[in-house]
Amino acid sequence: MSPTNKERIKWRPTLLQISTAICVIFSLLVAMLMVLFVIPQQISIVETRLDNAARQSLVRLGPSVADPILTRQYEFLYDRLNKQIENDDTWVRLQVLDATGQQIYPLGEWDTVLTPNQHIVFADIGSAPNLIGRLALVVDHEFAIGESLRLTFILTAALFLIIALTLISVVLFLQAAISRPVIGLTSAFKLMAKGDFDYALPQARSREISYLVQEFSRFRRRTFGYQASLIQLKEDAEQANEAKSRFMSRMSHELRTPLNSVLGFSELALNESKLAPEQRRQLEAIHQSGQHLLDLVNEILDLSRLESDTLEVTLEPVYLPDILDQCHLMTTPFAASHKVSLTVLPIDPSVCCVLADPLRLKQVLINLLSNAIKYNQDNGRVYVEVEAGASNTVFIRVRDTGIGFTQQETAQIFVPFERLNKSAATVDGTGIGLSISKRLVELMNGSIDVHSVEGVGSEFSISLRAAEVSASESDKILDAACCKPIHHLNEATEADIELQPDPDLSRAQSDIQPVLATNLHILVAEDNAINQLLFQTQLESLGYRCTLVGDGLEALSALENTQYDLLLTDISMPNLGGLELTKKIRSGESALKEKGVHMPIVACSANAMNDDQVSGIDAGVDAYLTKPFQKAQLADVLHSAFSAKQST
């Protein structure tokens, strides 16, 4: 129920209020009827009747005074009339005129002025032509009307009392029979919505409400059953999903180990100059396929983390010009290979900073740029622009002049593995890049939107919260982010791209510059024989000496006997794993109490999950490599580790 509805209901009257209002209106109507009709009518009737009664009395009085008038024995007349007036409360004064019209009673002046309640009635004494005289009587009905009204008021009050008692009884009955059970049911409904299925239902006194309560009870039992089965289903689904995530995580790990060998050895083989052109093409195909497989594994891993909510982002102010520069640099060779021009439009300084995870933002932007390039036409264009949005947001738009897609396709574009039919055949892709991008942007409190016109081009807009930060701070942040050893793409020059159509392969080859390792001795702990061989080959080609051991225990005994310059260890090994090994070495170093003794340790694992890296750093490793890695990455990491050691 919307809040406005709730408000509206709050203003509706309760049954009690409605009943009371009806009572009041009814009472007012009765009162109005009494005041405006009954009482005036009653007064009028009473007055008429009293006047008639007075006239009758007067007519009867006539004969009894006729004789005294005729005989002029006025004492009898006066006695008679005085007594009559004395005895009758309503008689105010009497006048007697004789046949000549002379007033013979009373003795004084006759007052002709009447008060509002006084009426005058007349009666002849005798009849024409023997008219003896005439009687005029002023009567005052005030007392009689007052009495009559008093009775009416008593009657009305009694009527009101009866009505009030009846209505109060009805209201109380309604309250008990309807309002109270309904309020009880409402509470039961509310609590049921909160998950309480045991709230005691109200006692109903009427059949209708009994049915209602009974039906509600049945409904609640059924709902309880549904909810229980829903909860069970949800738990089952969650378990299944968890199992899937575990499976995917495990899969990616298991796939990385052989991929490491495939990529490593194919890379090494490609460095051989004595290859026949046919062999080189085949090796390149192996390396390319391996690289694609690795991308796929990485994205599946991201997706599984996103689905299991284990992927975390760290929001910080990100300086957009730097990040866009890097993305531009990284995708330029790819753009060139597709004959697409890539332009970052000038950025207004006021919108140069957003709140985001720099690494993940870069991942999203590269994904969008790659798509814009991949699905473009020959000599197509890609533009990146940044502009301010409403309420402190910043839009990053990636616009292309590509093939575009229809409205229908727009709805599917962020669904994992839903590749658009027409492109699926012609363009490489995993089909989950955009869905990952969407979720990443949402994790960064942003949103991603798309507008496309088929055959004209598409525009992807990322909306992120704006951040206030100085350019220098932003630089530092970005530098720190770029130095982390985990990323799949490296910078490449345009010259390289021209020579090598495949950016990944060209980068791998351009980075192979033999380092003068000056005969440094590295201990390699690795349980997989093929990977042992790969390490040995890569390290020797980089000019290092190496000794191979199968697990942590062997590594420890090797370290006891021989002085090594660096330890390169796998994480998951039998007997003693890489993390435990590192911990033992570090505790041994601190036990020596000799300052400056620090064995550089580089951990290397197919566990690409974030947690693994964190626990590696906690255990005391100096650098962390995720399998599969390229020789150049290995070279970088080793170089950094040695540099750090020398600097200490």
């Binding site: 005989t71 002029r72 006025y74 004492e75 009898f76 006066y78 002379q102 003795l107 004084g108």
Partner: protein, 278 residues
Amino acid sequence: MFDRLTNLAGLIAFATALSLSVPVIAANNYVVGVVPQFATQIISSTWEPLLEELAAKTGDTFELVIETDITQFEVTFERGDYDIAYMNPWHAVIAFETQGYVPIVKDGANSLKGILIVKADSQISEVSQLDNAEIAFPSPNALSASLLVRTELATLHGLTVTPLYVRTHPSVYLNVALGKSLAGGGVLRTLRAQPQSLQDQVKIIYETREVSPHPIVAHPSISPEARLKIANALLEIAAEPEGAALFAGIPMQQPMSAKLEEYLALRDWRLREFYVAN
């Protein structure tokens, strides 16, 4: 006054002597008549206690008889039906002449005289202005208010008037106040008893000569001893406070013994000429 006291002393002395000399007189039954100038009930409530008291004093029994009107009363006493009667002075004269009734007790406080009234705003101030006028009177033979006034208007002032008899004194006053009659005959006592509003509307222009008030008379068949015994008993009652109150109701303020001569003087006033015989 002195004469009266002497009379009373003489009477008492005589009565005492008589009662001593004749210790036992046989018990008699007397019929008592009262002039019906008031309502029967009033007369009855006034006279019955007095007669009981009188019976207790004398050992005789007294039977009160009240006629419905004065005419019937006159017929009755002229026939001599009453042993003892209370009547006006002129009736006393008639009663003496017809049956030989003699007064035994009278009211010594008030003497009677008639008055003639006209409307207060009337131009009439002299009786001479009333020649040939219609004048209201209670009844023809009402002594002071009617008989005395009519007699004097004719015999002393030589006027001829048209009398209208309206039964009661208040009716006379009302006729005058209402302007129905130019003048009316009454007595001061009854005029003063009228409401002030009525009194204010009339004025007195003439008063008659005085006569002795109503006497209690006794029939000549009653022996002089018995008459004296009754008179003494009445005066004894009047001397007691309770008895005085009973007499006041008659009304008789100051009872004293009466003489026939006082009343026979009325015969010279030519009242008989104006008396309306039944």
